[in-house]
Amino acid sequence: MIGGLFIYNHKGEVLISRVYRDDIGRNAVDAFRVNVIHARQQVRSPVTNIARTSFFHVKRSNIWLAAVTKQNVNAAMVFEFLYKMCDVMAAYFGKVSEENIKNNFVLIYELLDEILDFGYPQNSETGALKTFITQQGIKGQTKEEQSQITSQVTGQIGWRREGIKYRRNELFLDVLESVNLLMSPQGQVLSAHVSGRVVMKSYLSGMPECKFGMNDKIVIDKAGKGGVTDEVGKSDLGGGGSTSGKQSIAIDDCTFNQCVRLSKFDSERSISFIPPDGEYELMRYRTTKDIILPFRVIPLVREVGRTKLEVKVVIKSNFKPSLLAQKIEVRIPTPLNTSGVQVICMKGKAKYKASENAIVWKIKRMAGMKESQISAEIELLPTNDKKKWARPPISMNFEVPFAPSGLKVRYLKVFESKLNYSDHDVVKWVRYIGRSGIYETRC
């Protein structure tokens, strides 16, 4: 199990050091600093073994988090825990920065004492932690309150406390997708996938039971065969803004928040859960079939002699003309020996950024089924470098108001048997946002 946990600033100074196991000595703190943070060469693995001690590290901006062990621990668990630790800290005091860590070191020690016991991760849901780890010290809790806390921390529904009340029951559902593409210069799709997340903000009273439905191919096909009337008609949430007319999508794989009953999904493919209060990520999914690629990039790079490059890039938007894409940015890499660049673009603004070795072309808005073009002349300094320029791919950023995977929310039903509000009384909001992930075209 985890033998110790250290947090360092970018200089390698220790901000937090908590040792859980006797086999981890004080010198472990220094070993990591010397061999990883101050290492002459960049460390090439997130797991480092120094003198039979293993160090796992993650970095958040300038901060290093390192977990140490001398045993054969579950490595995936250690990293999951380190991420979780970052989330918990962020939930308590915002950005994980040196300043914030120093200001909250007492709190961090308190948290570390609670969520890691003898190196075993314990309940680390912030919802539960915030009920009893506060910076105000202990409040005058009644006996009932105390047992409520402990039953929540150890209970089956550790992510939600009893007795939540809202005057207005409201639900916000965001379908956030990032579409990833790698395209060859000839326009052939080398790989494309959508990784999506369903993020929910729920403000519901009591312990509501929710059921979430989407146009998952397996469910729709099953329903079709069984002669059950499709629920899409009844849905108050259908629609969205997808340009595709397809009825259902094939989901390659999905993972769920721990509140979702996995065995029920496995057997019936239905997504049912008691939601945490506030904002959380309900599920993640991945699709690879029939993806709508919102933009197509057509590059043309010509080397004119040894000291000049001509670049022409066309982008085409590929969705309903009534929809608008936003925050479009095309990044065209330039060689290291670039001495000057002239750019002409039809739309938006383009700039050569020498420090980033790229031409950055920004367009605020662009409707569907449109096309735009940029051309640039790049002057090069003659070099003796034998190695050719590696030609990194042209990358793109954008945001579109639909789900490139074609996913649609069919329903989200809320049942709360003890309190007297019904599914109809809950106000529900759905939003679809498609963003670029790693969206690259080789040139």
Binding site: M1, E13, V14, L15, R21, D23, R44, S45, P46, V47, N49, V58, Q71, N72, V73, N74, A75, A76, M77, F79, E80, Y83, E99, K102, N103, F105, V106, Y109, E110, D117, F118, Y120, Q122, N123, E125, I138, Q146, I149, T150, V153, T154, G155, Q156, L182, L190, S191, S195, D252, D253, F256, L262, F265, R284, R286, K386, K387, A390, R391, I438, E440
Partner: protein, 956 residues
Amino acid sequence: MTDSKYFTTTKKGEIFELKAELNSDKKEKKKEAVKKVIASMTVGKDVSALFPDVVNCMQTDNLELKKLVYLYLMNYAKSQPDMAIMAVNTFVKDCEDPNPLIRALAVRTMGCIRVDKITEYLCEPLRKCLKDEDPYVRKTAAVCVAKLHDINAQLVEDQGFLDTLKDLISDSNPMVVANAVAALSEIAESHPNSNLLDLNPQSINKLLTALNECTEWGQIFILDCLANYTPRDDRESQSICERVTPRLSHANSAVVLSAVKVLMKFMEMLPKDLDYYGTLLKKLAPPLVTLLSAEPELQYVALRNINLIVQKRPEILKHEMKVFFVKYNDPIYVKLEKLDIMIRLASQANIAQVLAELKEYATEVDVDFVRKAVRAIGRCAIKVEQSAERCVSTLLDLIQTKVNYVVQEAIVVIKDIFRKYPNKYESVIATLCENLDSLDEPEARAAMIWIVGEYAERIDNADELLESFLEGFHDESTQVQLQLLTAIVKLFLKKPTETQELVQQVLSLATQDSDNPDLRDRGYIYWRLLSTDPVAAKEVVLAEKPLISEETDLIEPTLLEELICHIGTLASVYHKPPSAFVEGSRGVMHKRLPARTGSGEGTECPDVGNAAGGSAPEAAPSIIPSQGDLLGDLLNLDLAPPTTTGPTPSTSGMQMGGMDLLGGGLDSLMDESEPLGGDIGGSPAMGAGFGAAPTVMPASLNAPVGGGLGDLFDLGGGVGMPMGAYIPPKTVWLPAMKAKGLEISGTFARRAGVIQMELVLTNKAMSVMTDFAIQFNRNSFGLAPAGPLQVLTPLGPNQTIEVSLPLSTVGPVMKMDPLNNLQVAVKNNIDVFYFSCQYPISMLFVEDGKMERQVFLATWKDIPNDNESQFQIQDCHLNSEAASNKLQGSNIFTIAKRTVEGQDMLYMSIKLSNGIWVLAELKVQAGNPNYTISLKCRAPEVSQCVFQCYEAVLKN
């Protein structure tokens, strides 16, 4: 929100000031002071001097302050044990507090204070807390048992905490169950043979129920524990798999990987024709791919594991090649791992895509990555024959880029391609030769020299090329020097007329002017070969080489099986067994996959495999026996069935396993030491092997003076044993006729835990015999002489001498047929003689072979019935008591006796020197001279031999 100020106090006299503040009356000031102390502690300052003052602050109702003081205590209690006692009272009092949070805090902290005196006081509160009404306290107490066990294992056992912990597995609260499982698993790890985690269908059911309800971390503990269970049959295995598969959709990657581990392991037991088996395979792919969209560090862990999974079950991800394509912004460690998996998944179907990608990668920035990409192209050529041509042309394109390291890497892989497809792509040699000057890395230079030497007859100016290298011979690395030597000898054998001068030059450089023993020895052996018999030299040096196989970097199968059992853990990240990086007793136990039970498919024998796995890493170095002078002879022995052709490619994958090493004789020996490089580079085993032959060392030099003492000791050992183990009578192993007058007879014995080979050497010839030495071939149990053969005086005609040779069991292992066969080479001043003999397996029965009754019962149940064999022992007239005593003398231990209807049932256990356990049930009926014996063992092959021992022991 200004706690950061505590980090900045660095003035002198600080400790003194802090002391004053800690003793202040004002609560706020006290708290401030404690915070300062903790901040100083964090940055590494020694604030232990403040111990009494800080402990004084412990009695407070401010929970925040209390926690800070506890933190301080955990850090310094060990250095101030006497003062730490001051804290005990508060702890004990807190354990009774009405607030469950405070009770838990007290018990949690107490467990972290590693001071004996405090531990004593911990027992009572802990006992109460384990049965507390509040689940939060119970789950904390469960972990505390593991803490206490780490401090004082005996105390935990004596106090009966282990039983209470076991009870918690049935607790109503899932988190208590999960923590109890975690604690028990950890404790069980340090007691490999205890039956602590008594996993049976009932407790498994409880775990599976808790799995659905507990936190993500708890699910990981439970899944990791489940992975240690071995289901009784394929039905149980399937039902567990069905209940574990929903976990594959969990958002936590560690839950997913641990579930994959359980499934991969239990799948072994499912019959392959089962529909469910196919379904399960299909279900595994998507979650593995999903892991690749996690954060980069987790991707790295996932990729290292996928690398293992792909080797074990390539079918799972064979259609998922694309997801392993490298993204431009992937961190370098992710890129390198992806590349590895791409090559493993490369097949005829996707090779075009893969090659296009690899070519793209070869133009990237990171040098290591580019090199690996180039190497990968070569591996594709070797793996997918249809693509070889395209790969070679891609490599040639890359050579044209003239980027130094790309060119060098390309040349290294082209050498391998030549070895895989001889006489096919030699047209490119000209291009390679153009780049000779730019090669500055030893590996690339050696590869190029190998190519020149190998194809000397087709390169017009081969002699000039090699000569140019020779100029700076002494500045080259050993690898290049050795290769240059071999290449010039090859050249000489092919074109003897023009190159005589060159070969003399290199031989003298290697032998006279070099102080590198490998180089000198290789030089001498070539020299002698060439001067005695050039034809033989040609046969040796220019012998046809075995083709290299594509899967040279596969993990050795037994290790792979073990690593599959460790999916998700550090072992799977390092690709090393836990024993390689974990100290102490933890993790030393080797895990292995269960055997398939359902269909009658060939089941591997896990125990023997395991034993071989354990010794595999040592197998390579132990090719060199302790007596260097005999190595040449040993090689002869290995070659006994002369092999002219190399091993077929299909077997070469196994050669890594260390089991079949001798199968291909010398050829495989070469393959083992240098999987890809052929005779390129420094091969210590080869170099030393050949090199030792010319420099003959008299064997007598090896005989230590203390030999006589050893004999004395043996005598003592023999007398000391009252019952005495069974020793078979001596038989003639080597008749004088066959051995130029030397007759050898002998037997084997086990005395005081030492295996002895007792030899009688008789000289029936007319001349004196001297310089005796002995060597064994690899054998089933790794028997090897533990010292030299002690024949101190020359053996005159008609003289006889008795020698006893202590044996060890750490030698190289190879399965023999029959299992107890041993091939021996004995050398004297006249010649080398070979014979084989069979040893009674009873001499391998070790003294600590008595199993606990509980363990015996569980193990007996655990071993599948297929592994049971029954034998009859005829005409034995001992009663059960006498039989038991007699068997005990040979380390066959009776564990229990039961009498049913006048029939005595004796339950016995035996442990072999390589760790294999044999369990036996002996039925003795009064008045009936025929006994029935049932033997159960995970390695059923040994049963026959064990039975023979029973018969021999009982009848003598």
